[in-house]
């Protein structure tokens, strides 16, 4: 599992160049935040971090950049019932997550049983499988202690 921030940053920038997109300060800044952050921030959280260095950056630009990176497969988008999406720019391909339903913390997991199953699902359903999502929901040790 890729976890090196610098490598991820380079990969994102290279991917932008390859497709002919311009390398703007805003895009580099968003890419850096995604590549360094091993949490799973919301758009708003990325924007807040961004404003510390570039106070004039707009939320709209973050949304557009996220959408662009998502389309390029450089960021993974996870929708939740709470309404907002969380983003994983460190490990942008489908992988399992462990979500604390109390504090919202999201951890990446190492278990990976779904890839083997995808072929079976494809055979029995006729679908061409393009991705998957595996989440576990629970209460983290810290929140259990505070109950």
């Amino acid at each position: 599992m890729i976890k090196d921030g610098q490598a991820r940053l380079d990969a994102i920038v290279t991917s932008l160049k390859e497709r002919g997109y311009r390398i703007t300060p805003q895009r580099i800044a968003v890419a850096e935040i995604l590549a360094r952050n091993d949490g799973h921030p919301t758009v708003k959280q990325v924007h807040d971090q961004l404003r510390r260095r570039f106070p004039t950056t707009s939320l709209v630009t973050v949304y557009k950049t996220m959408s662009l990176l998502k389309g390029m497969g450089q960021v993974l988008e996870l929708a939740f019932e709470s309404g907002s999406c969380r983003y994983d720019g460190l490990v942008p391909y489908p992988h399992p997550h462990l979500v604390c339903v109390t504090c919202g913390e999201i951890l990446d997991l190492q278990v990976g049983i779904t890839d083997e199953v995808a072929g079976e699902v494809s055979r029995t359903s006729g679908y061409r499988i393009v991705g998957h999502r595996l989440d576990f929901y629970g209460v983290c040790p810290r929140c259990q202690a505070g109950e």
Copy 2:
């Protein structure tokens, strides 16, 4: 896997009574739609179906009823990147889904590997696991034909 509409309807109504909630025409109507519909409708779709029989029913009531049933564990809520949630009232406990990314169709799946894994996740992480979600995303045969 439960698939009998009448049994589901009875289960939902019984569950409402047990908890002291009132049995109103609107709640019965929503429960019937959920129990009969083996698709995975949005709140808006449920409301549209509801209006055919009860033209004055409001969208707000559907939201409130869905929220109530969700809290009772009588309906499963699935959030998607598209913004709106889809609901499964026929099989209200966590189970795998197969989602067509082109037309939005959602099928229930029979594969079930995650329950065994949940214990392992709980042991290694210290989380108390309360649920999970397993989705496969792909293109259904019909949409493949039209490509």
